[in-house]
Symmetry: D2
Subunit: 315 residues, 4 copies
């Protein structure tokens, strides 16, 4: 059975693993990301690939990174959290390791992992995935393949217009979905209510040392799971927006499966309950017509390594 390497380049950590055709990770290693140094980040990746390739007969390497990747899957055009600009990453890695390589956007990689070995592994044709982190990432599979688009940059789901004249996004526009259905929005909603109505947010504020501004995403999740009403409502707000966006995806793409990933899904039905209700409301006019099921992602943080390795298998 052939083996490939998957590398997941994040803003703080680089993870790499050797993965088999069934999606099983045989070994995995992690390094810190020297995010502001182009050459060092590249070196960390190469060292990590060499190390993994030493112990296993690997045939190719796949690399996932946040950013815009060109249509040939070789160059990182722009990465928001890393110093890369028009970085020919594929050829560097390939030359340095002697392995064929492919580079892919992290949202696409996660979607591919879930399609092949995760929540949508029973689907053979199509799925759409939203990855809810600090921002909102996306990946689309159609006809059994990742949708990359004419210019290589499809599935930029985080910047769909959701609220005209709404909250200003880092991208400059007012009202992108990233401002309503992300981990940042979750924290923003929870902090605001905790500041205004501290007596209702005691569970959450206890975790944050009494300071609403110190609230983090994991605190909102923990407090919500313990029944804190303000944290529960923050998840419901995020879920309602997420549900309407998933409904848009169902109407545009009509995929077999819809997947939601990212740390917020640890909250389970606290997030997905409101998401599914809002989704059903939005599609009420389709009444008895069939529509995709919404599922939580299954592969967690390992999706980046598994998906990148599986893409390497298809070079």
């Amino acid at each position: 059975m052939t083996l490939t390497i998957g590398v997941d380049v994040g803003g703080t950590k680089v993870a790499g693993g050797v993965v088999d055709a069934a999606g099983t990770v045989l070994v995995q290693v992690r390094r810190d990301t020297p995010a502001d140094d182009v050459a060092k980040t590249r070196d960390v990746i190469i060292e990590l690939v060499r190390e993994l390739a030493t112990g296993y007969p690997v045939e190719a390497v796949g690399i996932g990174a946040a950013g815009w990747i060109d249509a040939s899957r070789s160059t990182v055009l722009f990465a928001p959290n890393l110093a890369w600009r028009d970085e020919p990453l594929r050829d560097y890695v390939s030359a340095a390791t002697g392995l064929p390589a492919v580079v892919e956007n992290d949202g696409n990689v996660a979607a591919w992992a879930e399609f092949r070995h995760g929540a949508a592994r029973d689907a053979d044709d199509s799925m759409v995935m939203f990855t809810i982190g600090t921002g909102v990432g996306g990946g689309i599979v159609l006809n059994g393949e990742l949708l990359r688009g004419a210019n290589g940059i499809a599935a930029e789901l985080g910047h769909m217009l959701t609220v005209p004249d709404g909250h200003q996004c880092g991208c400059g526009r007012l009202g992108c979905i990233e401002q309503y259905a992300s981990g940042s929005a979750l924290v923003r909603f929870a902090r605001a209510t905790a500041r205004q109505e501290p007596h209702r947010a005691t569970g959450l504020l206890d975790l944050a040392g009494g300071d609403a501004e110190a609230v983090t995403g994991p605190m909102v999740t923990a407090a919500a799971q313990a029944g804190d009403p303000v944290s529960t409502e923050a998840f419901a707000q995020v879920g309602r927006w997420l549900g309407t966006s998933l409904a848009d995806m169902a109407q545009i793409l009509d995929p077999q499966v819809l997947v939601v990933g990212g740390g917020v899904i640890d909250a389970g039905d606290l997030l997905l309950g409101p998401t599914r209700r809002s989704f059903a409301d939005a599609l009420a006019q389709r009444s008895r017509l069939p529509v995709a099921e919404i599922r939580p992602a299954e592969l967690g943080n390992t999706a980046g390594v598994i998906g990148a390795a599986d893409l390497a298998r298809r070079i």
Copy 2:
């Protein structure tokens, strides 16, 4: 050169034509649609196909109709303007005429026509089309094929959420794009301003016999072309919303070409100017990255016949 028949079933007229492989319509005929009688509508289609097949050696028939079509392209599940409910139209027509047949949603048919023989004929992979009529229809081509979705009902672009808590749509939801970027919206915007500020709308009101409620879409187009400021602004409103939706399509699907069709494009840059500016504003964060061009449809009312005939060629 083989010939096929394309049939375009509208709420008031059924049009049929014989079309060659280059998309040239050799002959075309029209009948009234007996819209509230299932059997008679079917009979009109069959008579029309028989008539056309008498004079030409046709090999197949394609039928386009507004409504939801099942994934096998044989049954009309629901048609908003016709009495059909779970109508096995393909098999009726095929049995009655002895020709292989296919049924397709009208938005898909128009998109296919423009992709093959119209505004996007230079594209070989992907396009998205909005057809702006009374409502908003859509069609998506990816990998050189119509996107039909897992349940046969992809590209329902008219009901994407555009304004939360916005104008109520016929479908029941508040704020579907159909309420902002359609011919109905154009007329609604123009009537409202003509009622409030008649002195600014004299050009338009003259066409409507002085009665704002008598304003129609073609009047708004004619008045705008003659410089009426209220009509011009109504097109600009529609264009601004259309531009943001096209931008969403560029970010989700990244197609080679974006096409806008329907009667409103007769207004030319009065519509497409504001559309393109709003599109560019929405995508400003993509800065120098390439993005699809927005083009007006080229085939007009004939798109239904041409597209259906070309789909018949691919049965």
Copy 3:
């Protein structure tokens, strides 16, 4: 104890009564409104006043009507449901009956009645009232007097902007509060859901003979009181918008009391529960600062007669 006459001119009925200083209606009569005939409507009012004045020693007459009244309270500038345009109603009535008269907008009359003898009778300084009928009317009392404004037309509360680019109002604008917190909106919301999700609206649809389009306001109230979830949610939607508008009033005018009147208040806490929650949410940043209480109106349909009669007492 002196007596005065109050007349309430509606689109379908003219009601008149003799009222004492304590707000007690000694006698009341009703006539049909000949709404499209200016002279006949005037005659009906005059006959009704003469009839009432025959039996009681009345000193003045007050008249309330929907429409814009000039600053001198003598002329109806415009009435949406009646044929009056610049109608010098006060002088007609006064000349024909020999009684001093005053004309006032119906929203103001209702507010004055509740301030003097109804829900806000314990207030000595200020109140704001929303009257929720087909549309939304308003009245403001400050310094113990009706606020009439520099041009006589203050308290036009129905056309405050509530949802930018929202549902189009009869006035032409998009998103006036009248489209979200009115009886029309209640029916619109309930019909839409009943059409989309009939299985959840059986209670409401039974009352409407199974036809969502036949649903009326009183049906929504009756069904909600019987536990119909779709009707309950329609009231909650209206209440949420009403609560935000009441919060705006509290922040702008800081009155002693806020009153909500009109037929919808028959629904009691089904409307006022969501209204109060939305109001409290909107004012969370004022935390412990005092704010006006929201109360249902107490005088019902009689407010028009009582308020107009009390205004006559102050000529």
Copy 4:
């Protein structure tokens, strides 16, 4: 002619002046505000009053400060930029200086100054003023008196709901007008566009040393006056929202005059042009009915001293 002292307590400076009955400032002095020290801020005010009172025969002192003031105009309940919480400022100052004193909210003070001696001095009854600074302040004059409300905190105009689910306000709500019609919004809008479309913002970016994040309000004003299109559009965005809020004020209060103050009015018609157009659009349904004129404030930074001194005259 009697003289009074006006004191304007800002977050960085305390200004005080001796003012005559005509609103002429005879002398004015300034000190730094020790903003985080309650006692020192109070001492600075007292010293400044004593100094002014030494040279002039003053009869009373008026003090304006940002914050919520109680209904008796003696206590600062809460001040966002100062350390005061339930501070009995009036009695401290009065005891220390031997002068009768009054405390008033800064938005009210500015409105009173413009009503008595500024842009609305020809009005004898009513005006509404928006003061556009970092945030949005307000003041309302009705019946020739400041509207203070039942609880002393009327005219909190900055937190009216403007965009449901819009940009999150410092107060926790989504979509307060302060997020759309303030100096902060102006800078936010300009920075976002300068970041996205630097080639269109060269005039503005030159002033900011090439760094969009270094853009300030005065830079946007200067660049707009020099023709920079991005800065001009930022003013137009603010003006459009301001116009709709002024229209709400016209419909609720129908005042004689509407005044706009704060640093942004230095931009003149760049702000007030779009403001007036948006105001007229919003009120189109009132057609020929009269409505208040929108005027720029005339007293600039001196309004705080003049208004506070005039209020002292009325103790």
